[in-house]
Amino acid sequence: MTGVAAVPSRVMLRKLTSRRLRRPKSWATAIAVVVLGSIIGLVIFGPMIAPYDPNTTLGSTYMQSSKEFLLGTDALGRDVTSRVLTGGQTVLMYAAVATVLAYIAGLALGMLAGFVRGSVDNVVMRIVDVLLAFPTLVFVLLLAAAFGRGMPSIVFATALIQATAVARIIRTATLEQSVRGFVEAAVARGERTHTVLIREILPNIAPTLAADVGLRFTWSVLLLASVNFLGLGLQPPTADWGLMISENRGGMDLNPLAVLAPAAILGALTVSINVISDAWADKGI
């Protein structure tokens, strides 16, 4: 492809294809919604339809798939099917809590920094810079160790790290809004800071917030699942997808399903949330 003619034809081609591109994308979004919906359904109703108690040893270790145990048994002879069905609540619930906490803290800090500016802004943003200059997982592990063992401290650490990222986005959005006429009018009327923030600015930065929620939630799921996988979060005998992968990876040759089943469902979960939040950010669904 050389010469003059190539240039305009390429441009035209790109325009044509970009329109065509949208169709598979919306297909992907539709599939992702179905996948996510069924995972959430599984997580809610899974414990009710689980054939056995997830924490009782029922057979020998790493038995292969059979009529009795659909996905075989795990390292301790427990039923993998029942453990997969009950193992999702923890990660989803904790990730949701972490995301909500991150938003409360990040929203307050980001709006304050963006609206008040000056030294408040400087202090908050320098702290955010320092925190963001570091691998997230290392920080979560470090903070979790500092706050003490147990899930609450890990959820809190995850929320704190996420809050810094939220604060940064909210600050930028708030900066844009705070020079607008209606904000200046509210300030001139003598409204108090928190009234201006909640009544004037918050409704206007809501779209930015909405586009970011999915991404934050994915990150929370990834972080919490990783911490559980590393054995530093939920402790055995809790049934948890991340923990199951870690527990059963020694028996990959005997019953690979004990690892593959939780891996597949965790993977489907993160990929589908990712696809949906991408589509959401693109055009608000």
Partner: protein
């Protein structure tokens, strides 16, 4: 004093070399970035130290167990330096750190001896460096190739195939990708080992087959976003006026790609690769733990599991230095590659 004498007027009309250096935007920029890096590291050291010193149950009682007598605790605290005030301990840790002394592990004290953190992390650090570098080179190559290819074929099936193939694994946790790779390559095809245990002191490069799966996992999770960002840079470059001008001048398309577009898309790419290098440090933790690879990430997880606060704080700080150094280096590299930025930086 030397500073003031420098600033006093030089003999009229003569500008000293040092003054020239001071005025050069590049030197200012380099100095600024290095300074910012040092300040960030200092802030991080405070945070890491505070986090580790509030780890519940102080290190001495952890060494001696729950039922230690008060007297033995006092003695152990004195031995470990825990009887001093917090600020003094921070000072001692930092002074030691800057002199290459990372302190002694809590584990060592509980076995009645002093084991230096450095002796524990020296080997793992080296192993991780090898794994990181061995993974980094193909990551750069593959994402440059994929990024360029999908920019040139933007919107066509090659582009879509690459974006699906790379973005799906990128959305997965490292250990899920790794578990799938183990299932495929180790359990099913039985061509590669599932665990990468390397005997202490042995160079990991001597057993390359142990590195394949960890490296593949790292490639799989990073190439997606990296090639996506390179694609964006390339698409923008290909749309630019100077690419149009080059094409109108009859420059061969291949040369337009490599000599014009890629060269200009390279500057943002360097920052992408710096991000990847930083990511690798976090990603290594999970990957090393999954494959049992004896690197610094696995060492950190083990230290965290036994709450060895001294080792945790020194290892975290070492990682912080690597991360910040990478950021600063990448910034400087971009400056050198893109002449335009040198003047804008001033």
């Amino acid at each position: 004093m030397t500073v003031t004498s420098l600033e006093q007027a030089p003999p009229s009309g003569v500008i000293t070399t040092r003054q020239k250096l001071r005025r050069s935007p590049l030197v200012r920029f380099v100095a600024g970035r290095v300074f910012a890096g040092v300040v960030t590291l200092f802030a991080l050291s405070l945070l890491v130290f505070l986090a580790c010193s509030v780890i519940p149950g102080d290190a001495a009682s952890q060494v001696l167990g729950k039922h230690a007598s008060g007297e033995a605790l006092e003695h152990m605290r004195a031995l470990m330096g825990l009887d001093r005030p917090v600020w003094e301990r921070y000072g001692a840790w930092m002074t030691g750190f800057l002199h290459g002394d990372l302190g002694n592990t809590v584990g060592g004290y509980s076995s009645g001896t002093e084991i230096s953190v450095w002796s524990q992390v020296k080997g793992p650090l080296n192993n991780s460096l090898v794994l990181g570098l061995v993974a980094f080179v193909p990551i750069v190559g593959v994402s440059l190739l994929f990024g360029t290819l999908s920019a040139v074929r933007s919107g066509k099936w090659v582009d879509q195939l690459i974006s699906v193939l790379t973005l799906v694994p990128a959305a997965l946790p490292e250990f899920v990708v790794g578990a799938l790779l183990i299932a495929l390559c180790a359990s099913w095809l039985d061509v590669l080992p599932a665990v990468s245990l390397i005997p202490p002191g042995q160079n990991p490069l001597l057993t390359p087959e142990l590195l394949v799966l960890p490296v593949l996992t790292l490639i799989a999770v990073t190439v997606g976003p990296a090639s996506r960002m390179i694609r964006a840079g390339m698409v923008e470059a290909l749309r630019s006026d100077w690419v149009l001008a080059a094409r109108l001048n009859g420059v061969a398309e291949r040369r337009v790609l490599t000599g014009y577009a890629l060269r200009n898309a390279l500057a943002p790419s360097i920052q992408v690769f710096a991000l990847i290098a930083q990511y690798l440090i976090g990603g290594l933790i999970v990957v090393e733990y999954l494959y049992g690879y004896p690197g610094i990430g696995k060492e950190l997880v083990e230290a965290l599991a036994i709450r060895d606060s001294i080792e945790v704080q020194s290892v975290t700080m070492l990682l912080a230095i690597v991360v910040i150094a990478t950021t600063v280096l990448a910034d400087l590299l971009v400056m050198l590659v893109v002449p335009k930025l040198r003047t804008e930086a001033a």
